[in-house]
Amino acid sequence: MTLSPEMSDAQAFELVQTLLDAPESRFPLTFNSDLPRIRELFQSATRNQWDPKTDVAWDQLKPEMYTEAQRYAARLYWSRRAWSEYGAISESPSLQLRFGLENRPSDMQLFFTIRSQEEARHAEVCHAMAERLGGYIEKPVQQLFEGSVSTHGVRRATLNAEVPLEGIIAALVCTAEEIAFDVFKHLDDVTRDPVARQIVRLIMRDESRHCAFGWYFLEAICDTLTAEQKKMIENSVITMMEKVELNGYHSSWLAPENPASRAEVEADRVTYEAGLGATVEEVEKPVFVATVQRIRDQMKPLGINLPPFSHPKLGVI
């Protein structure tokens, strides 16, 4: 199909029944705050906005202090961070759409508007960092790595009426975002470059709200869930862990061994040693393990019981 003159003929579409295919019915329209803790997150995000253009001390970045190899590795690292943040711009708005279509508490829709803007800021700042280090890189150097960083099907799952929202939030927010948040906390400890560290902190501040959203939501609904629904949530989290996180979405050293992932891991090591923002297997491993254990502990009182997970580089968590 050709949608517009300049569009590649390779642009394909799929015919699929989704939540979009229900007639809109927005009335009665309510904006009561049914989840006040989430409304407060929206208000807190409104108070704490920042701008990558003006709130980062870019003049303190001295690329010339680093070797060519370090700059290249850091370019790759910050470009990969930008791709990852972009995923939330491209796919997570489907959650906001679903909140509206399902008449979920308006607090959720309102919070997600600013969450998407925060993801845009993150992508913008990561791109700007890569640019200042020598240039943003538009795609993985080796195509094999695309599978680890492209998409984990959030949009598709979210628009599927058969996939319950509760499972998506438990997997995407309470699991994947929680892991991302702990990685940022860890990066704050190991990053020495002042600008890289400032960026990490600014992103981390937003991510803390993103994670809180997921837990506030789960805590608010857990008493209403049946055992079967809790099992479904468990399965969603297990899939996220096994197919996405343990496949290297946030941590390249967890990606399947191949020349592409080895190149990414090596770039991370050079970036880490330069103090420009990445981390490496030996120091991140205990952080990752602790995060998974914490998520398991936090879900247990909600009636969501996660099994042990295994990975060749981690053993059984």
Binding site: E14, E24, R26, I89, Q109, T113, Q117, Y136
Partner: protein, 311 residues
């Protein structure tokens, strides 16, 4: 709190969704005017809780009939503004799913959506202050004007994206801007003025986005593209504007209560404008749009309605 899982039953034909090809992921500026809107949106950020002196609204100074009218007016504005909470995320995803669309628009739309959320907060607060938000139109038949399924439409692979932007970003957001300006010119309440000042500043960017985008894309359009855009604009005016979506006096058969409330609130300086002023705004705005579209090679015809002069 008791909540149950909600379930939406799809009953329309399956959607045709584009399959995203994410890489190469271009992030450099290619549409500087739109990047500037994104940057100015960030720089112009505001806070509905902090930046409006809500105590100055003093609703008790108005009599009951006026308060009830204002309540209905701001509830209807809320019904309109709430569209963005589902439409903008869908439009953003469509930009991301379609190959080679520019990052500047994607970044910009995230800011637009936050601004829409702040407008929702303000309009809701005004409606609540005047007696409580009204959850639906007085006449159920008027609901159809709001249930436009725009989120579905924009995600549909067959929907021409530039044409969508022409109708719903350029034309519609531009009209909302002009209506806000005319409401502001008739307002006297300090809180209503402050809210409209903020909303107008945001909507100036919303409308500018549409026109900047069309201007950037126009050199690529074929005659068929231009015809598609013209047809969809005509449909928009016929099926949305003339059905009273923005101006309820255009649909007295369904929106008489809303039109009457608008007149009372306008007279009290609470954020409306007399019918004649809105009619003039709609006619003048459409004439200006017609000229701008002609520069892009799009012919917009005159519209006739038995509710207002030809425009």
């Amino acid at each position: 709190m008791q909540r149950v899982m909600h379930r939406v039953e799809p009953s329309l034909p399956p959607s045709r969704l584009l399959i995203e090809r994410r890489f190469p992921l271009q992030m450099n500026v290619t549409l500087p005017e739109i990047r500037e809107l994104y940057d100015s949106g960030k720089a112009g950020r505001w806070n509905p809780y902090r930046d409006i002196d809500w105590n100055a609204l003093a609703p008790a100074q108005y009599d009951e009939a006026v308060r009830q009218a204002a309540r209905r007016v701001w509830s209807r504005r809320l019904w309109v503004e709430a569209t963005g909470l589902t439409e903008t995320p869908a439009l953003l995803m469509r930009f991301c799913m379609e190959t080679d669309r520019e990052i500047d628009s994607k970044f910009y739309l995230t800011v637009r959506n936050t601004e829409e959320a702040w407008h929702v907060e303000c309009f809701d607060r005004l409606a609540e202050a005047f007696g409580g938000r009204i959850a639906a139109p007085a006449d159920p038949a008027y609901q159809a004007a709001f249930n436009r399924n725009l989120h579905r439409r924009v995600m549909d692979a067959e929907q021409h994206l530039d044409s969508y932007v022409a109708s719903f970003a350029a034309f519609e957001d531009g009209l909302e801007l002009e209506l806000c300006r005319i409401w502001r010119s008739h307002a006297t309440n300090p809180v209503v003025l402050a809210v409209l000042d903020r909303v107008i500043a945001d909507k100036e960017r919303h409308a500018a986005f549409g026109w900047h985008y069309l201007t950037a894309r126009a050199p690529r359009w074929t005659a068929k593209d231009r015809a598609t855009i013209a047809v969809e604009l005509i449909e928009h005016v016929r099926d949305t504007e003339l059905k009273g979506y923005h101006c309820p006096w255009l649909a007295p058969e369904h929106a008489a209560a809303e039109a009457a409330a608008d007149a009372i609130a306008a007279d009290a300086g609470l954020g409306g404008a007399p019918r004649a002023a809105e009619e003039e705004t709609l006619a003048t705005y459409t004439a200006n749009v017609r000229e701008k579209l002609a520069e892009l090679g799009i012919v917009l015809p005159m519209f006739e309605s038995n509710r207002m002069r030809a425009f």
